[in-house]
């Protein structure tokens, strides 16, 4: 079914593309939000990725790789957005961390606030690997394919990202829970 839609969209059928985009946008938007932590930036990244997907769809050799290819476009668009943000916004304001979204989180080993603080300390490229692996549930070879990097590099990046997150959580634990977090304005 999806293969047929991809082939039709690849041949210029915009309705088929609209159907593909509609099925994917929620997943893509969530992934972009997780990577960028900024709703407007995430929206821009998803829009840019989908426009590029439509434009470049005829270059996609294997229709069965559409999902991986789309994830790759979104992740790259997110990284581009993040870099643009880094270039143009250097002010930092201190914002209180949001309250936990879900009740009953105390049963988990690490609470949501800690995870969010640790996650925020990562570079977008590192967040991207984590989102692909731990949110989109892609196995590491698929993460590597999605990012267009060797598997070894993907594994290495995930390893460093998780290590950095754990280090941030450890540092958090030593300072105490009443933290504020630096965020780009």
């Amino acid at each position: 079914m999806q293969r047929d839609l991809v082939e039709r969209a690849r041949d210029g059928d915009h309705d088929a593309f609209a159907e593909l985009a509609g099925a994917a946008i929620s997943r893509l938007d969530s992934a972009a939000w997780l990577i960028l932590r900024d709703p407007e930036q995430a929206k821009d990244a998803v829009q840019n990725a989908l426009v590029r997907a439509w434009r470049d769809l005829p270059t996609l050799r294997d229709p069965d790789r559409f999902d991986a290819w789309l994830h790759r476009l979104v992740v790259r668009a997110c990284i581009d957005e993040a870099r643009r943000l880094r270039r143009h916004r250097i002010d930092v304001e201190l914002t209180e961390i949001h309250a936990p979204a879900v009740a009953g989180v105390e049963s988990t080993v690490v609470d949501r606030d800690q995870l969010e603080r640790g996650f925020l300390r990562l570079e977008p490229e590192q967040r991207a690997v984590i989102v692909l692996h731990h949110y989109l549930d892609l196995p590491m070879p698929a993460v590597a394919t999605t990012l267009g990097i060797p598997l070894g590099t993907a594994k290495s990046r995930l390893h460093y990202a998780l290590g950095r997150m754990r280090a941030a959580l450890d540092a958090d634990a030593q300072i105490g829970p009443d933290l504020v977090e630096g965020r780009p304005s």
Partner: protein
């Protein structure tokens, strides 16, 4: 359950809760943009055309023998002198492997092919017109090139032309499907990777005979890492894996251009991140590749370059900078005295090192994302490393000092150097 398992589970749960609070409302906005956006043609994606090496090979020259009869010695001497003069007036050709003089730089984009000066200056169109031409590759003798011309969706015919774009002709009657790796031999042959019935195969194209022959490699899918083995270029070396098996069960293989002597050179490794980024030393002795594998670093894993000695069958892990988090994608210099590779430490950067590790490595050029797809390698004279990104001015680095020179004009798609006789 380990602490790592719990951490991963908590992380996944938090990501799902946090991510799924989002309800996108901008699909209509996207579709307004896409409906007015024109789609690109299939052949125009530069990501599908991997950088190739810039080295080439020899032609055999036969020399006149002296006669046995003294009576005609003077005549022979005269003929020999005339022959020498005639040879001298012809264009000298570089040896196919090893050092050569830097010639023009090939550039391509938007369906046309350009030729720039050795410093990247003044790119001028040499193959233009309504046809969509792409991925030009110069022969090792520096006199001619092949490139692809679109004839249908995912199909392109192989074209030949002189280095100035003249003498244009179609090399084969039939098109290739999704051909995206071309490697010149020392003569009229090319190794080509393309699709046949959903499999990736390697074929030997004989331009003189106008034939293309698929090599029988036991049904394996070949990767885009196919090189002729110097010095005689009678065999190719490559990585391959079972059909549609992604990254598993990979090994390095070799086969004669005539289809004989199919040989596995390394163990089959099911760990996916092995045998990446092949290159072959100019003397044909070593094949380099990199693996992601356990090491003594704090991370416990890293990317490391290996040399496989084809004479002894032994392999050795190479470390050019012990402080690097990873080293990948090595290219040999034309005289094999130096290498250039990607040094990973968060971002990637090129590093020039002596092959035997005798000199301090040089980090050169900008840091680039791990996702970037740079084209880089040694110029034919072995004195310069070039780094090019699509649509940007190229960088040139002195191999001895690391001194950088920036090209004067952006290159659309770096297609390699022309090799000239020294």
């Amino acid at each position: 359950m380990t602490i790592d398992d719990r951490f991963g589970r908590d992380l996944s749960a938090w990501l799902h809760e946090d991510g799924e609070r989002r309800v996108p409302d901008h699909l209509a906005e996207v579709l307004v943009h896409t409906v007015t956006t024109r789609q690109r043609p299939w052949w125009s994606s530069p990501e599908r055309w991997l950088p190739v090496d810039t080295t080439f090979r020899p032609r055999f020259v036969t020399w006149p023998r002296p006669g046995r009869v003294l009576l005609v010695a003077a005549l022979i001497a005269l003929l020999a002198m005339m022959a020498i003069l005639a040879v001298g007036s012809r264009q000298r050709l570089p040896e196919p492997f090893g050092l050569a003089r830097n010639g023009a730089i090939l550039d391509w984009g938007d369906g046309d092919i350009y030729l720039a000066g050795p410093d990247g200056s003044d790119p001028r169109p040499i193959v233009t017109g309504p046809d969509n031409d792409f991925a030009p590759i110069l022969a090792r003798d520096g006199t001619r090139m092949v490139f692809s011309r679109v004839v249908a969706d995912h199909e392109a015919v192989l074209m030949t032309a002189a280095v100035d774009g003249s003498s244009l002709g179609q090399a084969l009657d039939l098109p290739f499907v999704d051909a995206d790796w071309f490697e010149w031999s020392a003569d009229d042959r090319l190794a080509v990777v393309h699709s046949v019935a959903d499999r990736r195969v390697v074929s030997i194209v004989d331009l003189g005979a106008r034939t293309s022959t698929d090599l029988d490699i036991g049904g394996l899918d070949v990767d885009n890492d196919v090189y002729w083995l110097p010095p005689d270029a009678q065999r190719v070396v490559f990585t391959a894996r079972p059909h549609q098996a992604d990254d598993s069960a990979t090994a390095i293989y070799s086969i004669g251009a005539d289809g004989t002597g199919f040989t596995r050179l390394t163990p089959v490794v099911t760990e996916p991140a092995h045998y990446n980024g092949l290159d072959v030393s100019p003397d044909g002795r070593y094949v380099s590749y990199w693996n992601y594998e356990p090491d003594a670093s704090a991370a416990g894993m890293g990317s490391h370059i290996h040399f496989l000695d084809l004479r002894t069958g032994t392999e050795q892990r190479m470390t050019f900078d012990p402080t690097a988090a990873g080293e990948t994608d090595l290219r040999f210099s034309p005289d094999a005295t130096h290498v250039v590779l990607q040094r990973e430490a968060g971002a990637s950067q090129l590093m020039i090192a002596s092959t035997d590790g005798s000199n301090q490595p040089l980090l050169v050029g900008p840091e680039f994302s791990l996702d970037a797809e740079p084209a880089y390698g040694f110029a034919p004279d072995g004195k310069t490393v070039v780094l090019a990104f699509e649509g940007s001015k190229p960088w040139f680095f002195d191999v001895g000092t690391g001194t950088v020179t920036r090209g004067p004009a952006p290159l659309k798609g770096f297609g390699g150097y022309q090799r000239l006789a020294p």
